[in-house]
Amino acid sequence: MAESTNTPQPIIELKDVSFTYASAASDGTEAPKPALSHITATIGTGEFVGIIGPSGAGKSTLASVMSGAIPHHFKGTLFGATLVDGKDTCDITLTDISQIVGSVLQDIDTQMVASVVEDEMLFGLENFGVPHTEIEGRIEETLATVGITDLRDREIATLSGGQKQKVAIAAILALHPRVLVLDEPTAALDPASSTLVFDTLEEVRRQGVTVVVIEQKVALLSKYCDRILVMDQGKLLLDGTPREVFAHAEKLRSIGVDSPRVARVYNSLAKDGLLPQGKPCLTVEEAAAIEERLIPEASRTAPAEGSFRQGSKHVVAARPYAEGAEPVVKLRDVCFQYPNGGATVKDLEMSVYPGEMVAVVGQNGAGKTTLTKLLNGLLKPSSGEVRISGLSTKEVPTSRIAAHCATLFQNPDYQLCKDTVLDEVAFGLELQGIDEEEAKRRALRVIERFGLPEKESPFSLSRGQRQVVALASVVVMEPDVVLLDEPTSGLDYRECMTVMDTVSEMANRGCAVIMVCHDMEVVSDFAERLVVMANGRILDRGATLDMFSDTSLMKEAFIEAPQIVQLSQVLSRTVSPAFAGVSQVSGIVDLTEEMVQRG
C-alpha cells in the first residue's frame, strides 16, 4: 500500500543470477533451458515483495535461490552471486542461511514434522539451540502474532487448510528469521482464508520481518505488497510498485498474468485518453472515486439499453436449453454424512439442464467437494436421490456413471496413469468399451485441437499442460455432464482461459457443466447460475449476478463478490443507476465513455 521512496538496507541481493537444473541437462540433446537467466534484484529490509508470473516462469526457482535451497539442495549450474545479509550463499551452509531466511514450502504437508502443533513449533527452536528458558515465550508470542493461540494442542491432521498454513508460518516465524519466503501460500485456500493469511503476513511485516511471497492472486498482491516482481521465462520482466506493474496490464496479459479488474478498467479508460496513463487504481474504492470525478453530473442518466451489458466475449448469454427440457442432473432431498462423524451435507436440492454452466461457491468445508462426489457417484447419498442422465447413483456403479458424467479433478496427477498422452486420452473411451482403434482416432482429434505432444509421457509435461491433458481426456468422452473441481487452481491466466473456453464450448454444445471454484472472477465470467453453499447446506441458488449482488448472502457464505460487481454496485448508488448489473470490465468502460461523451 505504502509507496516506498527511500531505498531500504538490502537483505537479499541477486547479482546476475542464472540457474539450470541438472535434470534439465541430462535428457535432450539441445542446450538445456535455464530456469533463471540473468536475474538482478534487491530485496530491502522490511519490504513486502510479491513475485508473480505464468507457470514455468521460474518463480519457485527464484524462491529456492533466495532461501539457499539452490545451490545447497537442488543440483544444477549456477552463475552469478546471491548475497543474503551480505554473505554469498555459496560460501555458507544451508543451515546458516536458514537462520536468516525462513521458507515455507508450497506443499506444507511435507514441511510438517510433528503431529501436534506445539511439537511442530518446537522442532526448529530445539534444533537451533534456542535456550530452553526462552522457548516457551517464543512459542506464545509467535502463536499470538499468527493468531492461532487456541490451536496449540491441536492435532495437525484435524486442522483446515488455512489453519495448517498458519501453523507452517508460525513454525518458521518462531525461529525469528529476518526474511520469510513463501511459495504460493494460498493456492489451496478459499478467498476468505487467503485474505487471513495475507493479514498475518502483514502483521509479520509490521514486526520487522521482510516478506517475499509467490502468489497468483493479483488482487491480494496489489493490496498488500510494496513491490511486485514479474517473472517470465526465467527473466525478470517488471519490478516496481503494484501501480507501476499493473499499468502494464496488456503486457502482463500477453505473458499470461492477470491484473486486478479495476486496474483494467482504469487502463482502458486511460488508453482512450480519459485518464492519465501509468497510475491505475487498485481497489474498488479508488475506482469508484475516480469514476465519480470523471463522469459529469449532467450526463448521469441511463442511456438506452446498450452493448455495455454484454461486455466481453465471456458474457454469458442465457443458453438455449429447450423450454421444459428434462434436467440432466437432479438432486432431491440429498443428505450425506461421513461415517466417522465428519462433515455432513443436508437437504441438497438442485437441477441442472443440458447446456447450462453452474458454479458452486462457498468457503472451504462448506460441502462443495462432498457435493461433487455425490454427483459423480463416488459417494452415495444416505437419503434422497441423485440422478445423472436418468441414472440413480445409488443403483448404478460409479464406473458406469463415468460414461455420462466426466470429472476434471483439481490435481491432474491423480487422473493420469498412462505412458503417453495418446493412451491417456483414449483410456477413458476404452474403459467404456469403445474399440481401441476408434478410441485412438477420437483421442487424436482432441489432442490435435489442444496442440498436445501425443507421444510424450504425461508426467514429463508442466503442471498446466498436465491439466490440459486431463481436460482432453474429459472432452473426448463427450459426456452429458462435466464436473470441474477447482479447474483453475495452480494454472496461470492463459492456461485458465484455455480450460474455461473449452468448457464453455462444451456447454454450448449441450453439455451441462458444474464447477466448484474459488476464483470469483472466473465464476462471474463464465457461469450463468450460482449455487451458494455454507455449512453443508445450499443457502441459495439463482442467476450469477443476482447472487453476487445479494450482499447479506455473500457475507453469510464468506464470499467476496468480484471487483467489477462490487464496483457497479457502488457506482449505481453514487453515480447512476445505469451501472447496476454490469459485470464486465468492458461494460463499465463503455458506459463510462458514453456518459463522458454526452457530458
Binding site: 514441511q111 514434522v113 525461529l175 491423480y414
Partner: protein, 248 residues
Amino acid sequence: MVNVIDYVPGKTLLHRLNPVTKLAIAAAIIVATFLSDSYVMLLGLLVLTFALGFYAKSQGKLFSLMKLLVPIAIVMLLLQTAFVRTGEPVFLWMTSTGLITGSKACLRLLGVALPLILMLSVTKLNDLANACVEVLHIPYRYAFTFTTALRFVPVFSQEMNAIMEAQCARGVEYDTKNPIKKLQLMLPLCVPLLVTSVGKTDATALAAEQRGFYLRTRESSFKRYPMAADDKCVLALCVLLIALGVLF
C-alpha cells in the same frame, strides 16, 4: 480419516509413562508371545493387550486392526493345516497337530501386531523419537527417519485414495467386487504414487534441513523424558512377563 496409528489423547498411566517404557511393554508382550507355547499364555497375552487397550481407551484401534488381521489369520490357519498333516485326522484334511500349530501361529500373529499398535496409539511420534534419542542414545537421524516414515503412512494412503477416486470417476472399475481384479487395476497406479512420494520425501528433507536438522543434538529436546519410579516398576513387570513366556 481415522488412522490405525493415530495418537489417542488421554491421561492414563499408560499415556504418562516414558515412551521408552511403552516400547518395552510392547517388546515384552511380543517376546513373551514368541517364547510361550501354551494356549493359556497366548490368550492371556492377548487379553492383557486388550485390557491395556480398554484402559487407554484405544480399543477402537485394536478392533479395526483385528478386522484386517483376522482374515489373514484364517488364511494362515488353513495353510498350516494343509502343510502339517501329522497327528489324528479331525475334519476333512485337517489333523489335530495341524490345527494346534495353525491356531497357535494365528494367535502369535495377533499377539505380535496388536501391542505395537497399542503402544503407538498412546505415544506421540515426536515423544517417541525424542525419548529414544535421550534414553536409548539412538542417533536422532534414525529416530527422525522412523517417525517420518510412520507419519507418511496416512499421507500416502490419502494420496492413494485420491488416485483411486479419480480413476473410478473416469470409469476404472475400482468398485468391482472381485478383489483380484481390483488388485490388478491398482498395480499400474504404484508408479505415479512412487513418483509423488519421492518428490514429497525430498521436500521433507529440504524443509527439515532448513529448520536446523543437522544442528540437533541429544540435549536439544525441550521436553525431558526421565525414567520415573513408575517406569522402573513397569520395566520390572516386563521382565516378569518375559519370564512367564519362557516358563509356559
